[in-house]
Amino acid sequence: MLIQEIKSNPNNPRIIKDHKFKQLVKSIQDFPQMLELRPIVIDENNMVLGGNMRLKACLEAGLTDVPVIHANNLSEEKKKEFIVKDNVGYGEWDWDILANEWDTELITAWGLDIPNWGNIDKLSQVNSTDTEWIGMPEFESKEDSLKIIIHFEFEADRDEFANKNELEFISKQQKTWSTTYPFKEKQDLSSLKYE
């Protein structure tokens, strides 16, 4: 049927976003036989009942003839029912099968909306602890300090070294004493609390 004889339905409740419309136009250009297998449905007045978006896309694609099926003698109520039911998807996608058996890029190009799963590549396993620390309290590590470790054979030597250099110590364990240069006293962390 000549495309100019078909009337777009002004009461069709479906809308299409710009990028989806472009996908539909491309889909028709790439696979025009699809229209023969699934023609546009029109009533006795050549008004579209099913395929309003496809009609627009056919015009955009520059087609002059499109296959149609006539649905005559439907009441106005039945026409409305047809318009809605023609666009309702009753089934659900099995995303496991789609992910494993189908090409994600292709099905996206064909117009299927992939649910928002973030970066789908990240569904594979992640081992980097750094990349995962997002949306979490800030974790900032301290710069590594430089160290000199001095070993003493006898306690007397250690005491002499400490006294000679007038050293103050942050901690004195049985075997290990530690300090900083310049000297910074030990921080009393109990004066603070995250609440």
Partner: protein, 296 residues
């Protein structure tokens, strides 16, 4: 409120139930699991609402039956995970710029719960000990993946594994989890302070299991783990005593799998979960005063 139920396994420590005391102060909801003969003592110490009696006593096999009881109780109440804490923890800290600053327990617990639920394959999440977070290594990583978790652990309930060993029960459970390709998380960004049981506390497993620091007992402990997991565990001599050794990084390289139902797109770079740095007394140290000023 914490999302998942918290159980504290305790024995003979009603006079000083450390974990329970500081949880109460920080608004954490929990139950202390105790043997029936100690129930009244714990109720007197903590209040009835915080105590739950176990259906057994003095089994002589350590804490694992009580831990499994917690697991089943949590399932019975419809939860997907549950916490088990040791009873000798007295503080939770947030590690920031190398400083281990005391932190409200409830918020820290919520942070770990939230992070854990972002993945579909986390079996166990735990707090590291504050003393094990050291400059230059663990203080550079907010968490470790697939290592030994201990003492303060969030467990996934639908796992088919259970606590089963008298000694080193946490190592055994982590190995069960990791061998079956689930992950463990050990947090360095939030840590727990544990009071040394051997030196300072009576009760618990101290009297029953670890009495005397007998070297033969230590070999038996390590060997019992090696017998079950010969592919992962070796008995070595370390720190002047026999010790079990597991090369976690070598054996368990599988990664985290992100939960597709979690809204990753909406994550901000940083979420402080409402944490605010507060002064509890006069801040004498200049470095801490600077940190406090910059945080507020």
């Amino acid at each position: 409120m914490n999302k998942y139920p918290i159980y504290i396994v305790s024995k003979g420590r009603w006079e000083n139930p450390l974990t329970a005391k500081f949880f109460k102060a920080d608004g954490v909801k929990f139950k202390v699991l105790v043997e029936p003969q100690e129930y009244d003592n714990y109720c007197q110490s903590l209040g009835k609402d915080y105590v739950m009696a176990l259906p057994f006593s003095n089994l002589g096999v350590g804490s694992y039956p009580a831990r499994n009881f917690a697991w089943e109780d949590s399932i019975k109440n419809g939860y997907a995970r549950h916490w088990v804490f040791d009873d000798n923890i007295n503080k939770i800290r947030r590690v920031f710029q190398g400083k281990k600053i005391p932190c409200n327990a409830l918020i820290a617990i919520k942070v770990l719960e939230d992070f854990t639920d972002r993945y579909v394959n986390v079996g166990i999440t735990g707090f590291n000990y504050s003393t094990f977070v050291v400059p230059g290594s663990s203080d550079k990583k907010p968490f470790y993946l697939n290592v030994h978790a201990y003492s303060a652990m969030l467990m996934r309930n639908d796992m088919p594994f259970r606590w089963r060993m008298k000694y080193n029960e946490d190592v055994d459970l982590c190995l069960q989890v990791l061998e079956n390709k689930l992950c463990t998380l050990l947090f360095n960004a939030f840590t727990v302070d544990k009071t040394s049981t051997a030196a300072k506390m009576k009760g618990g497993n101290q009297t029953e299991l670890y009495q005397g620091n007998n070297p033969l007992k230590k070999v038996q402990k390590a060997r019992s783990l090696e017998e079950i997991w010969p592919q992962y565990v070796k008995v070595i001599f370390r720190f002047n005593r026999p010790h079990h050794y597991v090369d976690w990084k070598k054996h368990f390289t599988h990664g985290l799998i992100r939960n597709p139902n979690f809204n990753w797109q909406e994550l901000e770079k940083v979420n402080d979960f409402g944490l605010k740095l507060k002064a509890k007394k006069e801040i004498k140290n200049e470095g801490l005063r600077k940190l406090f000023k910059n945080s507020n």
